[in-house]
């Protein structure tokens, strides 16, 4: 597969993961009878929980890590649903244990729910997979569930894919385990079709979540929604010719704020944002700026890398341009690597 196609596939998986999160949390948030959002259910994306382990004498508790599930849903009666969307597992099954360990962490008592003692009475763990890998992954789980992944909490595997009919849908179906919400469980056993148009509409407001986005995708958002907007706010600059460049100075914080306000899950958990990371993360934005610098389309204005000067230019296909750049860098890097390894011989 060409490097460009790999990027496009990565972007596709990233987008689908957002669609899967949005689709699944809406099963709980949206009241099918009243056709309105429920006010007794709360959903979170990328909420940072504390994993508590009791010491041997069972008195002292230790915070051992901070699991940040792709989604956490707080239901009435102190119940919770926690889960991960993993639409692409590595081809090599040797690495699957790591992926499962991440999900297995959610099988602990987690602290950090937005309620009085920050704990729920009980929660269930959901893993959403892509249809293309679901059978293999489920077999892997079945083979290891006694020795390695013996879940105490209910563990549910859900299949996700897009259907290509006259009208496209996102399809969700339970493949293993049972949700405690019987009604939803019944519907998901048969399979639920969500109109793709609805999800795409929501996706247009939420294009980033707390997983590292493919670099060309993030660069496109920065270019189109931050840099270009700065250029076009000045009417004199609108007449810019294709080959002309304009310098735009930005603070890294401005880029983060703009994308965070425009494209993150911020609105969903706006009243309980205390355990939410700011998305996009600073290191992602810095990496994106570094990429622009690598190809002479930007430069840092300070050593601390808090300000950047970007040379804006009109591209006929912004995403295509950044895929091209990232693909070329990867291909030339691999050539250098090849050259270096040959020279060692």
């Amino acid at each position: 597969m060409k490097t460009k196609d790999i990027f496009l596939n990565d972007i596709d998986t990233y987008k689908d993961s957002i669609l899967a999160i949005l689709g699944f949390i809406n099963f709980y948030l949206f009241d099918d009878i009243s056709k309105t959002l429920r006010n007794d259910v709360f959903a979170f994306q990328g909420r940072r929980f504390d994993l508590i382990q009791k010491s041997k004498d069972e008195t002292e508790v230790q915070k051992v890590s901070h699991p940040t599930p792709d989604f956490a849903i707080l239901l009435p009666n102190n119940l919770g649903v926690i889960g991960e969307v993993k639409l692409r597992f590595p081809r090599n099954q040797d690495f699957w244990e790591n992926d499962f360990n991440q999900v297995f962490k959610y099988d602990n008592d987690l602290i950090g729910w937005p309620i009085e003692d920050q704990k729920v009475f009980s929660h269930e763990v959901v893993l959403i997979l892509h249809e293309s890998q679901e059978v293999l992954i489920r077999r892997y789980y079945e083979a290891n569930k006694v020795d390695k992944f013996q879940f105490i909490h209910p563990f549910i595997i859900i299949n996700f894919h897009r259907t290509n009919q006259r009208n496209s849908y996102a399809f969700f179906q339970i493949k293993s385990g049972n949700l405690s919400d019987n009604k939803l469980n019944d519907r998901l056993e048969i399979g639920i079709e969500v109109p793709l148009a609805e999800l795409l509409k929501s996706y247009s407001e939420i294009k980033l979540y707390d997983a590292v986005p493919p670099l060309p995708y993030l660069l496109q958002l920065i270019w189109q929604d931050v840099v270009a907007q700065r250029v076009f706010s000045d009417e004199r600059l609108r007449a810019l010719r294709r080959n002309q460049k304009i310098k735009v100075e930005l603070k890294v914080d401005e880029i983060i704020d703009e994308l965070h306000n425009s494209y993150s899950f911020k609105e969903i958990h706006k009243n309980y944002s205390e355990r939410q990371s700011k998305i996009p993360k600073r290191e992602w934005v810095i990496e994106a700026c570094e990429k622009l610098i690598e190809v002479n389309e930007a430069e840092w204005l300070d050593e601390a890398k808090t300000k950047v000067k970007i040379y804006f230019q009109k591209h006929e296909d912004i995403l295509g341009h950044f895929i091209e750049i990232c693909a070329n860098i990867i291909s030339s890097a691999s050539q250098i690597e090849l050259f270096n390894s040959n020279s060692k011989i």
Partner: protein, 375 residues
């Protein structure tokens, strides 16, 4: 046709006094159109009109432009008379003329720019000037079916025996061997009746970009009319009738479009929610991968923009940035009979209209409506 235009130029020059007398007279909404009719019936003249909308007060806009070549001569009763000059540096010549700006009272911000100056002034000075005010100024376009409807109404209201098409500029869509859709321009002199001409262009899978026709009472020609898809009008008679039949309905359409397209940018709302619009084709338009490809090919022709295809099959997701004013959109197709335009952070009415025009011109026409959930 060339002879006819040259002739009109000469006649215009010889009749400058009549026009100047009109320019010097008091501006009055009650008799403005009828006085143009009188001028047209007594002299060999043409009148040109451009319907357009302006996002804010036109006088304020042209003040901001600070053009030395534009001067406001007088204003009264929602009518303004301007003089406009264009200097052609290479030829060391200047082209100068006057035009009226007629403000519509029912449709706020909609106007007609009207001139009785010659062909050269219209095409080389007035029209480029109006175009230069984009994106603050929005011109319109008429769908093929609407154009036919306007012509039929014009004929029936005025009881013309026939509208004979003299000259037609049309765009023809054809499929290339690699399955991409190409649009070519054609000019023809079909000398056909209205019905015949529309059937003829439909058979060729095209649409009229402009039409020149004669309105006939039996063998007598009442008016020679030229009408473009952008609503630009030229006639030698019956300006009042033509305003009622074409300019006013076209401007109403433009006004409705602006009402529908304005305030769509996410930043215009505190919660940054999207306000998508749909183009409904009313049939199974996107029924194959090839059809998606045809659409993608057409949208890639959108000039002065960035078009990025994030997904082409089975659903379509295209990200567009309009380099005229920085508006951006997600265009999605996930249903076979419609497409969804999701305006992003900034999306001006001008830019949405430009994108919709492009889709109608380069791909296919459909009905524009607000997004509704499809179950």
């Amino acid at each position: 046709m060339i002879l006819r235009l040259d002739y009109s130029l000469i006649i215009n020059d010889n009749n400058m006094d009549f026009i100047n007398a009109f320019y010097n007279s008091k501006l009055d909404r009650n008799n403005f159109f009828s006085r143009i009719d009188s001028l047209l019936s007594s002299e060999t003249l043409f009148v040109y009109a451009i319907p357009f909308a302006c996002e804010y007060d036109f006088l304020q806009l042209v003040n901001n432009v600070k053009s030395k070549s534009l001067k406001l001569i007088k204003s009264a009763d929602g009518i303004h008379l301007f003089s406009l000059k264009h200097i052609v540096k290479k030829k060391n010549e200047s082209i100068e003329g006057k035009f009226f700006l007629y403000e519509l009272q029912d449709q706020v911000n909609c106007k007609f720019a009207i001139t009785m100056e010659n062909n050269q002034f219209f095409h080389r000075v007035l029209k480029p000037f109006i175009d230069s005010l984009k994106p603050h100024v929005i011109t319109t376009f008429i769908t093929h079916s609407k154009l036919k409807e306007l012509l039929i109404n014009f004929q029936s209201v005025n009881k013309f025996t026939d509208l004979r098409i003299l000259r037609a500029s049309q765009k023809i869509r054809f499929i290339e061997p690699n399955n991409t859709q190409k649009i070519v321009s054609e000019i023809s002199w079909p000398s056909m009746s209205l019905e015949e001409a529309f059937n003829w262009v439909a058979e060729k899978n095209g649409w009229f970009k402009s039409l020149q026709f004669e309105a006939l009472y039996g063998n007598r020609v009442f008016a020679d009319v030229y009408l473009t898809r952008q609503g630009i009008l030229k006639t030698n008679q019956g300006f009042t009738n033509i305003t009622e039949a074409f300019l006013k309905p076209i401007t109403k359409l433009l006004y409705e479009n602006i009402q529908q397209f304005k305030n769509r940018g996410r930043k215009e709302r505190q919660d940054l929610t999207v306000r998508p619009i749909m183009i409904d084709f009313g049939k199974e338009q996107f029924d194959s991968i090839e059809e998606n490809q045809k659409f993608i090919f057409a949208i890639k022709q959108f000039c002065n923009s960035s078009v990025s295809v994030l997904h082409g099959n089975p659903y379509v997701h295209i990200s567009i940035m309009d380099y005229i004013d920085g508006s951006s959109f997600d265009v999605m197709i996930s249903n076979s009979d419609r497409l969804m335009i999701i305006p992003q952070l900034k999306a001006s009415a001008f830019s949405i209209k430009r994108l919709v025009n492009h889709i109608f011109d380069f791909y296919a026409e459909g009905k524009i409506r607000d997004y509704i959930r499809n179950t």
